[in-house]
């Protein structure tokens, strides 16, 4: 550690740090325009000058480029320092009289007016929009040194020196990251003059694109573990190899851009499949206007909107920022429909009732529920349905035909019109509303067939994983040691998923507790006396469980590897291969038995 004195205060810093760092460590203010923790000190603005005593002499030096030395005596507020800083501020003010940032910092130093006239500078309005550039080069340095892009550079000398892009044209290499305008101390950089490509906002996945996110972000408020992640597709480090500004900013050095995805192999005795569901894509049913009309939301979008941590802070608002006066909730989107999914998704009726309640409570809007059948099947669910009926929510029995913005009457103008047949009234209705919520059904995860193939479990007709028995083994897969929890096995609500999850955990634990797995005694064996050594069985075995013994000139089954399919037995020309409990004689006897009995 290096000890030095600043304004009579003892400060200790690590070797290699500057006097400016030391002053910050000791909470001693030094004005500066051109320093940034990620950039190498450059000493451009000179406002950070301090007086340094060396033996009997004192010198004025820029503290940002001055390495701290043992026993150094520094003064930051002597008359000489303040006088010089004021002169510097006047000169900066003369160069950039319009700049708000310069005027502010000059005012802090007690400078309101400059005695000097504006110097004759080369015009640079193509790149630096307003006059405010003090040639500190932070934009150039951040673009070249930190982000490794190099879209900006200095040009000219003396009074004609300026920051430009090549040929003063919008830069092709600029990745529109905005770092230059972010670091510019005077706000002189107008980013749209530099870039050729418009920056594309990154929609936040968890909020269904209703708000944008940064490349480094905490994916959602309840994330476990609650730590930020870096999106490699949009992070500048992954695109250019530079930046890493977040690494400099992180106080505990927790960010590591060199981390790679790893595939880890874990040996386990039981597997619980809990891959969940996906929401039906409402775009597939174009007649409801999802993705085409504003204020048509799917269920999870509305769920985020009504949530206190959501993009609107829990307020239910239409696109124009107003609370809706009428809301329609359309049931059975992508379920109970022969054109999409025939099955009932089970949860939609109840969450639609919850939505109706939330809309009523938060906005007091008119709520219309368009349903086929109300399925309030669980404990307390019917009671909730009755409560919602009592809250004055309209229930219209009939499926929505279309959602349109084409108004026929003046009161329909500017509204979404929900067209539906009311099967209880026996007439077609047109409901003008401000917001439409699509109660979309549940579909299997998009990779569930791939996962099923890996685990050797099959899918039932809707594409959800198939249980061993619909009534007697609804948690087990057909393969021993694999259990299901939640919506991957079929649409289910939270209490059902919790119950199945607990059952799956108990099933897995009972296997772990035993500590051993009982194999089925149906492995193959080869009769040494009969085997002719043709090796057909070796080629037949999908597991490499059969090896040819060159000394004995026969094939031998490794019992631990054999899974007992019996393909080798069917292919054996000499009848030497046998499958325990599925012997040829047994099967032939079965055939005889079947055919003589009938």
């Amino acid at each position: 550690m290096i000890q030095l004195t600043i304004d009579g205060k003892k400060v200790s810093v690590e070797p290699g740090q500057t006097v400016l760092d030391a002053a910050r460590e000791g909470n001693i203010p030094i004005p500066t325009l051109c320093s940034h923790e990620s950039l190498i000190p450059y000493g451009a603005c000179r406002l950070c000058i301090v007086e340094v005593r060396h033996r009997n002499k004192t010198r004025l030096l820029a503290s940002c480029t001055l390495p701290a030395a043992e026993g150094m005596e520094v003064t930051t507020n002597s008359e000489k320092v303040i006088r010089t800083r004021r002169m510097l501020a006047e000169l900066l003010l003369a160069r950039c009289p319009e700049s708000k940032a310069i005027r502010n910092i000059a005012a802090q130093l007690g400078v309101e007016k400059t005695r000097f006239g504006k110097p004759h500078l080369k015009d640079n309005s193509a790149i630096v929009g307003t006059d405010g550039c003090i040639l500190c080069g932070m934009c150039v340095r951040v673009c070249n040194d930190i982000l490794k892009i190099g879209a900006l550079g200095f040009e000219g000398r003396g009074a004609s020196r300026r920051v430009v892009t090549p040929f003063e044209k919008p830069s092709e290499v600029c990745l529109s990251c905005g770092a230059c305008s972010f670091v510019c101390p005077t706000g002189a950089i107008e980013h749209h003059r530099i870039r050729l490509h418009k920056p594309e906002p990154i929609p936040a996945e968890f909020e269904y694109g209703m708000v944008n996110r940064k490349p480094i972000n905490i994916p959602f408020p309840q994330a476990v573990p609650r730590v930020p992640v870096i999106d490699p597709d949009t992070c500048m480090n992954f695109r250019t190899g530079g930046c890493k500004i977040c690494e400099d900013n992180c106080g505990v050095h927790a960010i590591d851009h060199a981390q790679q995805e790893k595939i880890e192999q874990v040996e386990v005795g039981a597997i619980i499949v809990a891959t969940g569901f996906e929401l039906f894509d409402s775009r597939k049913l174009g007649r409801y206007g999802y993705g085409k009309l504003d204020n048509v939301l799917h269920a999870l979008e509305f769920e985020r909107m009504s949530h206190a941590s959501g993009p609107t802070g829990g307020k239910i608002l239409t696109k124009n920022g107003q609370p809706p006066k009428a809301v329609a909730i359309l049931h059975c989107i992508g379920s109970r429909d022969e054109n999409t999914n025939e099955y009932c998704s089970r949860v939609c009726c109840m969450y639609s009732l919850k939505f109706a309640h939330l809309v009523k409570e938060k906005t007091n809007a008119e709520v219309y529920n368009l349903y086929i059948d109300m399925r309030a099947f669980g404990k307390g669910y019917e009671e909730f349905y009755k409560r919602i009926l009592g809250e004055g929510v309209h229930f219209i029995r009939g499926k929505c035909a279309e959602v349109t913005s084409a108004a026929r009457t003046p009161e329909e103008k500017g509204k979404l019109i929900v067209v539906a047949e009311d099967t209880l009234l026996g007439m077609t209705r047109r409901l003008p509303v401000d917001m439409v919520i699509l109660s979309a059904g549940l579909i299997p995860g998009k990779d569930s067939d791939k996962l099923g193939r890996i685990l050797g479990i099959s899918c039932s007709q809707g594409g959800f994983f198939l249980e061993k028995h619909p009534k007697l083994a609804p948690v087990d897969a057909i393969n021993d040691g694999i259990f299901f929890a939640g919506a991957c096995q079929g649409p289910k609500d939270i209490p059902d998923a919790v119950a199945q999850g607990a059952a799956a955990a108990a099933g897995a634990l009972s296997l772990i507790d035993k500590g051993k797995v009982v194999l089925e005694p149906i492995t193959a064996e080869i009769d040494e006396k009969r085997c002719a050594g043709c090796q057909l069985c070796v080629a037949n075995c999908p597991y490499g469980a059969i090896e040819y013994n060159k000394e004995k000139k026969i094939s031998i089954v490794t019992e631990e590897l054999c899974k007992g399919c019996g393909t080798c037995v069917a292919g054996c020309p000499s009848g030497a291969a046998r499958q325990k409990n599925f012997e040829d004689v047994q099967i032939l006897a079965e055939i005889e038995g079947i055919l003589t009995a009938s």
């Binding site: 619909p470 019996g566 069917a570 040829d584 032939l588 055939i591 079947i594």
Partner: protein
């Protein structure tokens, strides 16, 4: 001519993981299909030795169904591919015996396809009714003068 009085006997070799479970599902789902098929459970369609089929036909079956997992879905990775390759050879053998090759069927029925199992059995039974009884020739005289 379909002889509605004639009830064909069908022996079904069903793989334990897909088709047997599919048949089970057809049962638990209370699906209706003809009772003509008697199932023999094998671990894999690859276990079905062609001699089993010949033996079944010889012993009085009018048709044989071999059913396994869909290609790519085999519980034993590739057992059903072995069955798939043996099947054409078996058909050639049937031709030489003078047996209509429509009497032996290979089908892929997954564990969730109870409905398909019921449909296959119904179709196959109907087809065998059209073909009539097999009348396997047990003596050389019978073989030389088929009925």
């Amino acid at each position: 001519m379909v002889d509605q009085q004639f009830e064909p006997k069908i022996v079904g070799f069903l793989c334990r993981w897909c088709s047997y479970t599919g048949a089970d599902l057809a049962g638990t789902s209370r699906m209706q299909y003809p009772p003509n098929l008697a199932a023999i459970r094998v671990m894999c369609s690859g276990r079905v030795d062609p001699t089993f089929v010949v033996k079944a036909l010889q012993d009085g079956a009018d048709g044989v169904l071999i059913a396994g997992c869909h290609p790519g879905d085999c519980h034993y990775s590739e057992g059903n591919y072995k069955a798939m390759r043996r099947y054409p050879m078996l058909l050639n053998l049937l031709d030489q015996f003078g047996i209509d090759r429509r009497r032996v069927r290979l089908e892929w029925i997954s564990a969730s396809e109870g409905e398909m199992f019921a449909r296959v059995v119904s179709e196959f039974t109907q087809q065998l009714k059209t073909l009539g009884p097999l009348r396997w020739p047990h003596t050389i005289e019978q073989f030389c003068s088929p009925a």
